[in-house]
Subunit: 122 residues, 2 copies
């Protein structure tokens, strides 16, 4: 049990309820909302947050996988902050939220490489 | 990035899809299914799996929070194994799945203490 996972103040949340948490950039602009979390089944670690933005009633929604390490939770804003401007977001890996999407190691590496994070994938 | 979280074989799963994963005891008996995961919003670590069992069409379902560290994922069974017999399960902390349940640090400590795991709560 590391310090990062011990707490007294109730940061525990049901995975089902993370859906809809807002994501902001450092300027405080809302970029989107968390749609789902990709976790490692064995370790129980969140590896990616799937951020959705755009669309209307689910139509035309784009999904942006963000490596978990790029997100910081802001208690006051009750949302995640990611150091990413809107221009960068336009170039970021994305997939159509309405299609059945098959996650592959290659896709994961593309995402990790874009965000220059240590890759989850070997 | 620790070894436990690096992989090549696709253990990544959407949190939404963990729902329904079977939980077995070491004798191979099915104890229940994962209903939800409680995660730490900041670190992204799964802290408890909420296992449901019993009931019919959602009526009378009991929810059992299991500290994540008590679960081992079994790739062949495609489910989690927990070292717990049915007798122990009868005495384990549980709550009614049909009521709105408010998770408190005290409740978390009760769970951690029952399973003799390092507590998430200070």
């Amino acid at each position: 049990m590391t310090e990062a996972t011990s707490n007294t103040s109730g940061n525990l949340i049901a995975a089902d309820k993370v859906d809809g948490t807002n994501v902001y950039n450092v300027a405080g602009e809302k970029l989107g909302t968390v749609e789902d979390i990709m976790i490692d089944k064995v370790s129980g670690r969140a590896i990616y947050a799937i951020m959705s933005f755009g669309g209307f009633l689910g139509m035309g929604t784009k999904h942006h996988p963000l490596p978990w390490s790029t997100l910081k939770y802001d208690v006051l804003k009750e949302g995640y902050i990611v150091n990413l401007d809107k221009k960068q977001l336009q170039d970021a890996p994305t997939y159509d939220g309405n299609l059945e999407f098959k996650w592959t190691p290659d896709y994961g590496r593309t995402v990790d490489s874009f965000y220059k994070t240590t890759s989850y994938w070997n």
